[in-house]
């Protein structure tokens, strides 16, 4: 892991997972790296967070109650139209094809390495067009 960086100007990352420990651990890692984070426990909550502030990237679990990751991605596409927000699927189902179904830019199979997570987030947030204003 790289040393803690300057926090100002770092993009917002929305982490969506129904497992509270997963949420806490990933947000802890990202915050230590200087990212701003928003969190949601299921798809509908994630849509609300996107409505509050457009994130630079979304880390998305697929199997969740109320609104799962696939339904969330469809609703997000309908909302953002031609300016998609990069999605990295973080899934425990071991099926990378499901990431394609949501048009994800990246896929991480749990349990993944912390450095792999940071690398994917760095790539996903590297396009200035996708960063929060």
């Amino acid at each position: 892991m790289t040393p803690e960086r300057e926090r100002s100007g770092r993009p917002l990352v929305l982490v969506v997972d129904d497992d509270p420990d997963i949420l806490e651990a990933i947000c802890d890692v990202l915050e230590r790296e200087g990212y701003r984070v928003a969190r949601a426990r299921q798809g509908q909550e994630a849509l609300d967070r996107v409505g509050e502030e457009r994130p630079g990237a979304i880390l998305l679990d697929l199997m969740m109650p109320v609104m799962d990751g696939v339904a969330f991605a469809e609703a997000l596409r309908a909302r953002t139209g031609g300016a998609p927000i990069p999605i990295v699927v973080i899934s425990a189902d071991g099926n990378p094809q499901r990431a394609e179904a949501v048009g994800a830019q990246g896929y991480l199979a749990k349990p993944f390495d912390i450095d792999a997570l940071l690398a994917q987030v760095a790539v996903a947030t590297s396009d200035p067009a996708n960063s929060a204003p």
């Binding site: 129904d18 497992d19 420990d21 651990a25 802890d28 109650p65 425990a92 071991g94 749990k110 912390i114």
Partner: protein
């Protein structure tokens, strides 16, 4: 084993049943069940690994601080979840291949309930109402695991739990009332408590399988769990009959 018996056994085993002899439907259910088990294990395994890795990267002074304590707690909690999931999964698997030697013995129900109440990790109050002298004839380990699971599930929210034990003909009937059973969760863990923070997402199907292996049955009656076990010889006749 006859075709009918095979079918009954497969139904009894629910989603963990092996696919052999059950055609594509059975293989599909089996694959779906194993996929769910893998999903449930990978989540706490992830947090166990991450918290341990983050602790290893910390300077000793930071490790002794609040963040270090939080990560140690997360690591232990996650390993506990994995442990429960693995135990439940392998209980089902071992019962399916008859890999657990069963030792039926007379089990005083009052003692069984008392032991389960002491072990069940629930903060809920438990009220018991068991007929005097009531005893089942079944394997102790399987009955204890089943009852402990039911107490944990029924008391998950902290609501009071009530356990009622009665003789019903040649059977012992135990009703556990508390948090209502998730619909369909005895048969399909995906309809129960996926990503359960206590690692109990496989517990109800495992308890159902354990109850069946003990010669009884676990079902849902209304908003109660109903566990039926074989009656031990010499149990007193119910009062008023």
């Amino acid at each position: 084993m006859s075709e009918k018996a095979d079918g009954a056994r497969a139904e009894e085993r629910g989603p963990g049943a092996d696919a052999e002899g059950q055609g594509e439907g059975g293989a599909g259910r089996r694959a779906s069940y194993l996929g769910f088990v893998a999903h449930e294990v990978r989540n706490p395994l992830s947090t166990a690994l991450w918290s341990a890795e983050l602790l290893a990267r910390m300077a000793p002074a930071e490790r002794a601080g609040a963040r270090g304590e939080k990560l140690v707690a997360m690591c232990l909690r996650s390993i506990g979840r994995v442990r429960r999931l693995v135990e439940d999964h392998f209980l089902v698997e071992r019962l399916d291949v008859r890999g657990i030697p069963l030792r039926p013995e007379p089990l005083p129900i009052a003692d069984l309930v008392r032991a389960a109440v002491e072990r069940a990790p629930t903060g809920a109050s438990v009220e018991t109402d068991v007929e005097a002298g009531l005893a089942a004839h079944a394997d102790r380990m399987l009955c204890e695991r089943t009852l402990e699971c039911l107490l944990a599930m029924a008391g998950a929210s902290g609501a009071p739990v009530r356990v009622r034990g009665r003789r019903e003909g040649v059977r012992v009937s135990l009703h556990v009332k508390g948090d209502p059973p998730p619909e369909g969760a005895l048969e399909d863990p995906r309809r129960g408590s996926p990503s359960d923070a206590r690692g109990r997402s496989l517990a109800l199907p495992a308890a159902r399988r354990a109850a069946a292996a003990a010669g009884g049955a676990l079902s849902v009656e209304g908003d109660e769990y109903a566990l039926v076990l074989p009656l031990a010889a010499g149990s007193p006749a119910p009062e008023g009959r």
